[in-house]
Point group: C4
Chain length 238, copies 4
């Protein structure tokens, strides 16, 4: 996103945060979105605990991509989840935006400590396989740095399970809630919406059929490739 | 719909697509509606992957009813589901409009791979019998033409099960989502709304009574005939 | 309601029908509300199958309380459910308005063919005991006059079960949907809203506790009497 | 709240009542919010049974903190739940506002007579432990003063279970509905919103995993302390 000015970067993060609210993913102040400008080494993120109806683009906080610290001149606290965001940006050069919510269905799966099975094409269009579940942090990890270690845990989970953040643009955290990401803050919001929708579909699918089967591999492959990679044909040419 | 100009045809398809969103059946770009003009041999359909809030009537794409190809002068890609729509129009001369969504409850039944039983009069007023479930496509069918073969499968399912598309104006596809149709694009949207509502009612009916019985034949017949055929008396005289 | 002019009567019925839509109880044209003017011997009711967004107060249809027939000069068909409404007004002189919907939770209980147990004070404030369930009509009753016999069945159910329509202002019909009533059309709408809410609460109550107990008699009595009868103290003095 | 004028106190209570409706926690007139001015010895509360769409700030009723009686000059009846509110204010000097609703998910848990387990961080951020369930009142308690004894029961439940109203800002009442409280009426509304959200999350968590575990103590402690006490770091500095 190096083609954006700092004001445009802040505006894009403001717009993404408001989009989370408008999509019904956020109650009270339970959510935040961010974006990174890798050329400038800057992450722009929502300030902590500020109500969405008084939030303005200039309230968006800038922190260093390298250290996670507030840039000089910043006066508001960044989101308490900032260390998670910064670690993901540091570890995954392919992502440009992150969205965190406590959206109702995705959070219910997180609390139930189950990954979300891929029950159909709505899921397969965006997530190639189940939405993964990260294990709970240990007491030691919590004490040593809760939010940073949340980021560490996510990256480790993807590495250990050979998952690609481009193909699986989100995760749910045990006893907590979802994180989603994408090339831009707007894409991260879109993936947070998809995650919430497929979480609701999966819950109802199991209620309708307790022995529901997951999507056959051939359909999974077809739907993911309709939208991703060299043979994608969904949408208008870019 | 031969009494419509091309502009009016596009307008009716635009209106139907927006009506899907307003009815809450569509999230992001997950839906499309179309209409056919049989005299002109033209199908009008939503462009692929275009956001509803920027869609305009002139964006609606025209394709040939005979070949499914873009008409000369069209510059946008048609919906990726166009081959499904075109095949249904080719095989079923009695329909004039089609709507496809990933609406929440209907898609959950599709993912659960169960037909939707007829549990009451709300269902029987529009669907004479269960909402049918099409089997999954095979790997070979997917590779040979996913969207076209989806249409072929729907038509085959109706023929093999002796179903009449006038009496059963919709279907759910295993691991995927619903399609609905009608005499016009507006009617297809109405039937997509009914399908979503009866899917939600059926889910809750089974939650309230795991041994729920389906509607007795006498009530099923009465309600369907109140609205269909020579003895219909619901609504105002046409 | 003899203190209303005919225009005011129509206006009140129009307002009640729109209130059903605004409360989220009605999808498409699946609902109707009516009121009776006993001095004039007139029932005012929604026309059949007319969309709510084009409905106007002057479209409200007048029929005879005695015969159920359209009054001279009426040109639109009355709701197909008119014989049910008229029979209830004929048999129950204490009611002044009726509302029929296919609201989501109440219709689910109707389809499940279970009465709605009284699980709490929200229910007891309006319904003194379970929301009753009427049996399905027989084939013979359907053939002999479906809508009239629906009304006959409701009145019989109340008489045989010693229920008072003032204390139990609604019912659900097997395989069909709810009816509610009250002193006015506005009160009938309010009771339809309560019926839908308690239907949803009861569904979730059983999901949370499959052995949920119904409300103790002492709490049931207390809550009903807070709002009804000589010792009522809820609300402002009339 | 002694820094507010009486008009400002009424305005804050009016705003809190409207906020309950806007948050979707209240149907019809099923809810009320209040605030206390301890210096003046006054409680401001919603009038009984008044529709929210005609409610104005000057309709808010003032009663004595000491006796619960209407202040001289008041002409409208206070909420029928006033004795519950007044007793809580009398017994708990640390609270400044109270909100009572029949919100859908919280009321379902109340009707199911189960406390709401703490299944995740959304819950732990506001409630340190389960949302407690008060036992049903006995017939004798109901006859001797239903609403006052509801308040007595809540206070006893907290004392007997060594709960702190600052750490557990709400309760659900068997067969009834939730109460929430906080430092101000606005905070009480916020806690009523949290209670409703965690009630819905907990219901779905159990549907997804019937053997769901409650939140480990280390995560519970971390999340509560992020927002409460000397080491809190969520939000902007006060």
């Amino acid at each position: 996103m190096s083609n954006l000015t700092i004001d445009e970067l802040k505006e894009s993060v403001y717009t993404a945060n408001i989009a989370l609210v408008q999509a019904g993913l956020v109650v009270l102040t339970w959510g935040n979105a961010s974006a990174v400008d890798r050329e400038r080494g800057v992450v722009a993120i929502k300030p902590s605990g500020v109500a969405y109806d008084v939030l303005t683009p200039k309230d968006i906080v800038l922190v260093s991509l390298e250290t996670g610290e507030l840039l000089p001149g910043e006066t508001m606290r960044a989101s308490s989840d900032t260390p998670t965001h910064v670690h993901l940006y540091q570890q995954w050069p392919e992502i440009g935006g992150i969205a965190h919510t406590h959206s109702r269905n995705a959070t219910s799966w997180a609390q139930a400590c189950r990954e979300i099975p891929c029950y159909g094409t709505t899921h397969a269009d965006t997530f190639y396989g189940p939405v993964p579940l990260a294990r709970p942090l240990t007491s030691e990890e919590i004490d040593a740095g809760y939010e940073l270690n949340t980021g560490v845990l996510i990256v480790e989970h993807f590495r250990e399970n050979h998952l690609d953040p481009d193909h699986v643009p989100g995760i749910i955290l045990s006893f907590h809630a979802p994180f989603a990401w994408g090339k831009t803050a707007a894409k991260a919001v879109e993936h947070a919406i998809v995650l919430e929708e497929v979480a609701g579909l999966a819950l109802r699918t199991e209620q309708i059929n307790a022995q529901a089967a997951t999507t056959p591999q051939s359909i999974l492959d077809k739907h993911f490739r309709r939208k991703h990679g060299a043979d994608a044909y969904y949408g208008q040419p870019k």
